[in-house]
C-alpha cells in the first residue's frame, strides 16, 4: 500500500492508481452485498428481540409480579433467552457481517462462494431460533452461556464450520500481499470459536466431565466467548475503521503485533477467575488471576496504539458517526479490561462476586465496547453495500446518545450497586476490617434486597433508553433499505458538515 507517498495522487485520487483500487473495492463490496445484508437483517432482528427480553427480565428484578403468570417468561427463562439472543443472535450475526465485509476487502478479492455463507447464515439463525424457543419452553441445559438445548447446537456448529471454511478459502485466494492486523484477529477468531465451542459442548453436555472440572470448562468457555470471539472481531473493526475514517496509518505495527500475541497467549487462561473462592484448587485460581493481570499488557498496548492513531484528530469525532461509535467502543475496551483485571483479584472478587457488579462488567464489555463498535462498523458498511446514504443524521444522533448514555448509566449504577450489595452481604467481615462492633451483623437478606431496589429500577430506566436507541437505529436501517437510490452524487450523512464540505471543488 503506497498511499500518501505520492503528492499528486493524494491530492487527486480520481486520476491515480487509487481510482483503480477504488473501482476494485466497489466491485468487492458489491459481491458481499447479499450475504452481508442477510447477516445485518438477522442481527437487527435479534438485537430488538434480545432487548425486549432484557427489559422483561430487568423489570422482574424490581417488580416480581410483572408478567408473573406467563410460564414462558419466568425470570430464569427470559434472562437466559436475553443472553442467548444477544450473544448468538445479535453479536454473532453482527460479527459475521463484519467478518464477511472485512475479509473480502482486506484480501482484495471478490467474495467467493456466497452460497456457503448463506447456508451458514440460515443454519445459524435457525439454530438460534430453535435454541431460544427451547429455552423459553424450559429445555435450557442450565449451563451458563451454553443453555441452548442439545437439539439445536449441532446446527450452530455446522454453520460455524462452513463459515470457517469460507474464511480460509478467502484468505487462500486473497490478492493482498500484506496481511493487515484486522485479518490476524478475524482469522484467529474463526479458529478460536469453534475450538472453545466444541470442547465446551463435549465436556459439559455430551460427555460431561466430572466434578469441578465441568465448572472449569464452563467458565473457560464463557470467558473465552468474549475474549477469543467478540474481542478479536471488535478489535479487528477498530483497527480497520479508525485509520480508514481518519485517513492515516495505524500508529505502530510493532504495538499491533505485541497486542495480538499477548492477547492470544494470556486470554484463554483467565476464565478461571470466575471461580475465585470456589471449590477449585487454589493454584488453578491463582493461574487464572495471574493471566488476568497479564491481560493488562494487550489492553494497554492496544489502547496506546489506538490513542496514538487518534491523536490530533479528535475534532473528527464531531462529524463522523462511524468514528464516534468506534472511538466510544475502543475507549470502553480499555476501561472494561482494566477493571476486569482488578475484578479478578481475590480481595476485590470477595466483595463483588455474585453481585450486580458482574452484570455491570458484562454489559460494559459486550455493550459499551463490542456492540458500539459493531454499530460504528454498520454505519460505514451499509452505505457501501446499498450505494445509498443514511436517511437521517438525527436518528443516528438519537441512536448514539441513547445507547452511549444508557450503557454508561447502566454500567455505573450496577457497579456501585454491586459494591453496595457485596459489602452488605459481607458485613461481619466488613465490620471486622473496619474495626466496628458487629452490631446488626449479618444484615438480613431481605434488607439487602430492599437496598438494591433503587439500583435495579435505574438499570431498567437505562435499559429503556438503550431500547429507544435501538429503535432509532432500526428505523434508520429499514428506511435506508426501502428508500430509492439517488442518481446524483451524494454527500455522506454526518452529524454536522465540516466547513470544508461546502467548497468541494475536486
Amino acid at each position: 500500500m503506497a498511499s500518501g507517498t505520492n503528492l499528486s495522487e493524494s491530492l487527486n485520487p480520481a486520476t491515480s492508481s487509487e481510482a483503480v483500487k477504488r473501482a476494485e473495492l466497489s466491485e468487492i463490496d458489491a459481491s458481499t452485498k447479499i450475504p452481508a445484508l442477510f447477516f445485518l437483517c438477522s442481527a437487527l432482528g435479534w438485537i430488538l428481540i434480545g432487548t425486549i427480553f432484557a427489559l422483561i427480565a430487568s423489570f422482574k428484578m424490581h417488580t416480581p409480579g410483572f408478567l408473573g403468570d406467563a410460564e414462558w417468561l419466568t425470570f430464569g427463562r427470559v434472562r437466559t433467552a436475553h443472553l442467548n439472543a444477544v450473544i448468538y443472535g445479535w453479536a454473532s450475526n453482527a460479527s459475521f457481517l463484519v467478518i464477511i465485509w472485512l475479509m473480502a476487502r482486506l484480501s482484495r478479492s471478490l467474495l467467493r462462494h456466497p452460497i456457503l455463507l448463506l447456508t451458514a447464515g440460515v443454519f445459524w439463525n435457525v439454530g438460534v431460533t430453535i435454541g431460544i424457543y427451547g429455552i423459553l419452553t424450559g429445555d435450557s441445559t442450565s449451563i451458563e452461556w451454553l443453555e441452548i438445548p442439545p437439539y439445536a447446537t449441532p446446527l450452530l456448529f455446522v454453520a460455524y464450520a462452513l463459515m470457517g471454511v469460507w474464511a480460509v478459502i478467502m484468505f487462500r485466494f486473497g490478492k493482498s500481499p500484506h496481511i493487515y492486523v484486522s485479518q490476524w484477529y478475524i482469522l484467529a477468531a474463526l479458529f478460536w470459536f469453534p475450538w472453545i465451542y466444541s470442547v465446551a459442548q463435549i465436556m459439559t453436555i455430551w460427555a460431561p466431565a466430572r466434578g469441578t472440572v465441568q465448572a472449569l470448562v464452563n467458565w473457560w468457555f464463557a470467558h473465552n466467548v468474549l475474549g477469543l470471539w467478540f474481542t478479536p472481531i471488535g478489535l479487528a473493526s477498530v483497527y480497520y475503521f479508525l485509520p480508514k475514517v481518519l485517513g492515516k496509518p495505524i500508529h505502530s505495527y510493532y504495538l499491533s503485533v505485541l497486542g495480538f500475541w499477548s492477547l492470544a497467549i494470556f486470554y484463554n487462561w483467565a476464565g478461571v477467575h470466575h471461580l475465585v473462592g470456589g471449590p477449585v484448587p487454589a493454584w488453578v485460581q491463582t493461574a487464572g488471576i495471574a493471566a488476568s493481570i497479564m491481560m493488562l499488557i494487550p489492553v494497554v498496548v492496544t489502547g496506546i496504539n489506538h490513542h496514538m492513531t487518534m491523536i490530533g484528530s479528535f475534532n473528527a469525532l464531531r462529524y463522523s458517526p462511524t468514528l464516534r461509535f468506534i472511538v466510544f467502543g475502543a475507549v470502553n475496551y480499555t476501561l472494561v479490561s482494566v477493571i476486569g483485571s482488578f475484578m479478578s483479584l481475590r480481595g476485590w472478587a470477595e466483595i463483588t462476586h455474585f453481585t450486580q457488579h458482574t452484570i455491570a462488567h458484562a454489559h460494559h464489555g459486550l455493550y459499551a465496547f463490542f456492540t458500539m463498535v459493531m454499530f460504528g462498523a454498520i454505519y460505514y458498511i451499509l452505505p457501501r453495500l446499498l450505494l445509498k446514504e443514511w436517511p437521517s443524521a438525527a436518528l443516528i444522533s438519537v441512536h448514539f446518545w441513547a445507547t452511549a448514555v444508557g450503557s454508561l448509566i447502566m454500567v455505573l449504577v450496577l457497579t456501585v450497586g454491586g459494591f453496595h450489595q457485596g459489602l452488605l452481604l459481607n458485613t461481619p467481615k466488613l465490620a471486622n476490617t473496619l474495626g466496628l462492633q458487629p452490631g446488626t451483623d449479618p444484615v438480613p437478606f431481605l434488607e439487602v434486597v430492599r437496598v438494591m431496589n433503587k439500583y435495579l429500577v435505574s438499570r431498567s430506566l437505562s435499559g429503556i433508553l438503550i431500547f429507544v436507541g435501538h429503535l432509532a437505529f432500526a428505523v434508520n436501517v429499514v428506511w435506508m433499505l426501502l428508500k430509492p437510490r439517488s442518481a446524483e452524487v451524494t454527500a455522506p450523512t454526518l452529524f454536522r458538515n465540516p466547513p470544508e464540505m461546502e467548497v468541494v471543488t475536486r
Partner: protein, 220 residues
C-alpha cells in the same frame, strides 16, 4: 518514520464526492473514501517495554505467592506445604472419646448404661470378660460369641455378632478404641488395648465362626 501526508489534518472525513468523469462508474461513496488502512512503523515507546516487564514481574510474584504448593487438594491460597509439614503435630486421638462414639452400636444390645438386659444381653459393667484377659475380649469382638456363657454369675445363651472380618469389618483402631472405652468406663479397671495388639490377634485367628465360651476359657 512517517511520510508527510497532506490529508493528515484534513477534517473532511469521508471526503466529499469527486466529480471527475473518469470515475463515473465508481460510485461517489467509494470515491470519497480514504485509502485502505495500513500500519505505520513508529518504534515502540520505551515505557511500553518497562510496563510489560513490570506486569510480567507482578504476575510472576502473584503466582509464586499464591501457588499453594500447586497442590490439587489445597483450596486456600495461603496454604504453604513447607510450613504445613513443620506445624503439623502428630495427630492425637483420644481413644476414650472415640470409643464413646462407637459405643452407640453396642448400646443397642448392652444398653446405654452397659448393664445389659437380664437373661438376654449380658452386662459389660464389672464383667470379668471385659475387665479380664485382653486376648479373650479381643477375640469376642473380632469373631463374635455364641452359646452359653457365664457373666457375673448368670448364664446367658444368645449370640454376639462379629465386629472383625466377616462381620462389621471394623479396623484395628476402632476395635481398640471401643474396648479401651468399655474397659475404663463405669468403674471398670481393665488396661487400655492398643491397635497393635488387635492386629496381632486378627492375624493369628483370621476369619472364623463365633467363639464358644469354653474355647475362650482355654486361652489365657
Amino acid at each position: 518514520m512517517k511520510t508527510p501526508d497532506p490529508r493528515e489534518h484534513n477534517t473532511r472525513i469521508e471526503q466529499a464526492g469527486a466529480s471527475d468523469e473518469s470515475i463515473q462508474d465508481v460510485h461517489a461513496i467509494l470515491a470519497r473514501e480514504k485509502p485502505e488502512p495500513h500500519e505505520g512503523y513508529s518504534p515502540m515507546p520505551l515505557f511500553v517495554l518497562g510496563f510489560v516487564s513490570a506486569i510480567i514481574f507482578i504476575g510472576a510474584i502473584y503466582i509464586v505467592r499464591h501457588r499453594a504448593g500447586f497442590d490439587p487438594l489445597a483450596y486456600d491460597e495461603r496454604y504453604d506445604p513447607s510450613m504445613a509439614a513443620t506445624n503439623a503435630a502428630p495427630v492425637k486421638v483420644d481413644p476414650i472419646a472415640e470409643g464413646k462414639k462407637l459405643f452407640m452400636t453396642c448400646a443397642a444390645c448392652h444398653q446405654p448404661t452397659g448393664q445389659g438386659v437380664p437373661g438376654v444381653f449380658p452386662p459389660l459393667v464389672k464383667s470379668e470378660w471385659v475387665n479380664g484377659s485382653e486376648d479373650r475380649v479381643i477375640r469376642i469382638l473380632l469373631n463374635g460369641l455364641s452359646g452359653p456363657v457365664k457373666v457375673e454369675g448368670n448364664t446367658y445363651n444368645n449370640a454376639m455378632p462379629a465386629f472383625g472380618p466377616g462381620g462389621y469389618g471394623w479396623s484395628d483402631e476402632k476395635i481398640s478404641y471401643i474396648l479401651t472405652y468399655v474397659r475404663q468406663e463405669w468403674g471398670n479397671t481393665g488396661a487400655p488395648i492398643t491397635p497393635e495388639k488387635v492386629a496381632e490377634i486378627r492375624k493369628a485367628v483370621g476369619q472364623r465362626k463365633p467363639w464358644a465360651a469354653e474355647e475362650l476359657e482355654a486361652i489365657k
